[in-house]
């Protein structure tokens, strides 16, 4: 589905169409077909150059699968991923390897994602060396430049990862992603392993880099406030589908899907007089069953018979604001979930 009322001034940087990914579970019985997990179930999204998309949802919502497919680390079961108009999954391997200079990834765990036995220079230079032969002097110069861009020093080049704190390691991971001068960086929970004060430094750095180089981010996060800060558009995922998509301001002030509201409501507010708001138990649905009806219906306070029988399609509920719910009018009429006082 496209957004008809938003004319596209340029070609999108990234275009994802009807993307689906199924994983086969281990066979439980010899006589029955193996069950499948629908990790991603028809996701369509676009990212314009220099803009950022945030993907939020609980674990199991398919957000990391989405990241891996965008990075062409897996072949999707169905659908397309196109970067600058070229389908990544139809490219010959050699061409794909060269195309990777345009999209890089930053991982969640700055302790696990850097090889402890390699120097920072080798770690940061790796995406470049993977692209082709390059002489040592040029390489070290390029490494020095990106290290300075992320706020580290040239002298850090010959150190090893254990000599750095978590925040510095995440800077190194960002430097590694930046060295090929990519147009898109996919960041999977880039700050969730960091302390609050360090998290702020890394988020500011990500903003600065975007301003300086016109990067696009796909930011995968469970933290709505982080996504709100960095992204122009947010996609809320539930069980492999996008259930609501739009600008952060619209999404948070006029949520059209009950799941978005539930997520917003669950964020604890840091303020005086914060009384526990009871939420009641909400079982998470199963990805294995491709049952009819809205996947969120078992958890939804507004669900009725219609919801349990017919799955709602993603449709326009406002300017560049999409939601997949039969009751969007009722949800949008609810008073907005209180934002945190700034």
């Amino acid at each position: 589905m496209t957004m008809p009322d938003q004319p596209s001034p340029a070609t999108p940087l990234l275009e994802v169409t009807d993307l689906a990914q199924r994983y086969t579970l281990p066979r439980e019985s010899l006589f029955k077909p193996a069950a499948q997990v629908h990790a991603l179930n028809g996701v369509t999204a676009q990212v314009m150059p220099g803009r950022s998309l945030g993907v939020v949802g609980e674990s199991g919502s398919g957000k990391s699968t989405f990241a891996r497919l965008v990075m062409a680390l897996e072949l999707p079961s169905a659908g397309q991923v196109s970067l600058l108009g070229r389908d990544l999954n139809r490219m010959p391997p050699d061409e794909l390897r060269r195309a990777r200079r345009d999209f890089q990834m930053v991982f969640q765990d700055p302790y696990g994602s850097l090889d402890p036995r390699q120097t920072i220079a080798r770690i940061v230079a790796e995406p470049l060396t993977a692209l082709g032969r390059i002489d040592r002097a040029t390489l070290r110069e390029r490494v020095a430049i990106v290290l300075r861009q992320v706020g580290l020093r040239d002298a850090d080049m010959d150190k090893f990862p254990h000599e750095f704190s978590g925040g510095q390691r995440q800077r190194i991971a960002i430097a590694r992603a930046l060295i090929t001068q990519p147009k898109l960086i996919v960041a999977d929970e880039p700050v969730s392993a960091l302390d609050v004060s360090v998290q702020a430094q890394v988020l500011n750095l990500m903003q600065d880099l975007q301003d300086e180089f016109g990067l696009s981010y796909i930011l995968i996060s469970h933290d709505l406030a982080v996504v709100d800060l960095l992204c122009d558009e947010i996609a809320v995922m539930y069980l492999g589908r996008i259930v609501e998509q739009g600008r952060p301001a619209d999404l948070f002030a006029h949520s059209a899907h009950p799941y978005t509201r539930a997520l917003l409501d669950a964020v604890p507010r840091a303020r005086a007089g914060g009384v526990r708001r009871r939420r009641g138990a909400q079982p998470i649905g199963s990805q294995a069953s491709a049952a009819a009806g809205c996947p969120y219906a078992p958890r939804c306070p507004l669900a009725d018979q219609h919801c349990r029988e017919t799955a709602p399609a993603l449709r326009n509920v406002g300017d560049a604001h999409l939601a997949a719910c039969h009751h969007t009018d009722a949800v949008m009429a609810l008073p907005p979930v209180v934002a945190e006082a700034g």
Binding site: G166, D195, V196, S197, F252, P268, A272, R279, P283, A339
Partner: protein, 334 residues
């Protein structure tokens, strides 16, 4: 039950020195607090601030090389210096802990029923069959679906939220007096976090336990505990009733922590106010205020000696000699 006014757990001037590869490190200095039955206390701070070391000291789980000073009293009985055999009788029985990582806190080789029943078999005289029944009841109470059918399942067969429920059932098995929850929801989704915190709050109220909740999330602290302590560099820099602290934050570090958080509704392009510098190494802490090197209003006398705690309100203490400036500037949000 002891009379209601006497503290159940009383910590006075607790100090912990750990042996690290870089020499002895003062991980905790001068921590004091008292909790009565049914009271809740929050510990906030970043990694390396000493909050988990404080919890491990209460549990008697520090390495043998750690040097502990000060006093920890449970119902009047001193715990510091208690031989390990005596501590084994308390741990899991009168003091219990819920750990951060439900993935690693459970033994993958044992059924969940076995693990929940273990403290019962160890501390109470029940038979194996009774312990199993009790384990099923506990798993049922923490909201594990089909507890009686799934009691013989292994940890890998459960989701993260369910595993955390199982560790809570383990911690509660012997009806402890003190429950320490160390980042119990950090590894979980926000919606599951809410459910787990609701569950803990219900159980604390139901069983009259005292709870120490450790978290780096100011939102979790604001909504879940009556009193809080903010730790930095091994010392308590601010403590008081949660509402009082959130209304008037006194310490520059508490204020910095509060401002550094991305918050909902702050639109794209908003710059976060960072705290300059990095957390000091515990092995070489500065002589004076531990926060001085990162503090915007630090002056020479801040670096001379560790500041004393200043009372800025009823039972609201701040370890800062410049509260006149930090609290005059409008405090939070300035």
């Amino acid at each position: 039950m002891a009379d209601g006014d006497a503290p159940l757990i009383e910590v006075k001037n607790l100090g912990v020195t750990l042996n690290t590869s870089r020499g002895p490190a003062q991980a905790v200095r001068g921590v004091s607090f008292a909790l009565r039955r049914g009271e809740t206390l929050g510990l906030v701070g970043e990694s390396g601030c000493g909050k988990s070391v404080t919890a491990l000291a209460l549990m008697g789980l520090l390495p043998d090389s750690a040097v502990i000073s000060g006093s920890i009293r449970l119902d009047g009985a001193e715990l510091v210096g208690l031989p390990d055999s005596a501590y084994c009788k308390l741990r899991g029985n009168r003091i219990s802990m819920i750990f951060q990582e439900p993935m690693t806190a459970l033994n993958p080789m044992h059924t969940i029923g076995h693990q929940v029943a273990e403290p019962l078999l160890r501390h109470t005289g029940v038979s194996a069959a009774q312990a199993r029944q009790e384990a099923i009841a506990l798993l049922d109470r923490v909201g594990l679906p089909d507890a009686s059918k799934r009691v013989d399942a292994y940890p890998h067969q459960f989701s993260g939220g369910q595993r955390q429920r199982i560790t809570i059932a383990m911690a509660l098995a012997c009806q402890p007096d003190v429950l320490i929850a160390d980042e119990p929801t950090t590894a979980l989704d926000v919606t599951i976090q809410g459910q787990i915190l609701d569950l803990i709050a219900d159980l604390v109220a139901e069983r009259g336990m005292s709870m120490i909740l450790i978290s780096h999330d100011l939102g979790v602290i604001a909504e879940n505990v009556e009193r809080m302590m903010v730790m930095y560099g091994g010392t308590v820099v601010e403590s008081g009733e949660t509402n009082a602290v959130f209304t008037r934050m006194g310490h520059p570090y508490t204020q910095g922590l509060f401002r550094a958080r991305p918050r909902l509704g702050a639109r794209k392009g908003t710059r976060l106010k960072t705290i300059a510098g990095t957390v000091p190494e515990l092995a070489d802490l500065p002589a004076g205020c531990t926060f001085a090197d990162r503090c915007a209003i630090a002056e020479a006398r801040c670096r001379a000696a560790l500041p004393a705690v200043v009372d800025v309100g009823a039972a609201h203490g701040v370890r800062c000699i410049r509260t006149d400036v930090s609290m005059a500037a409008g405090g939070v949000g300035a």
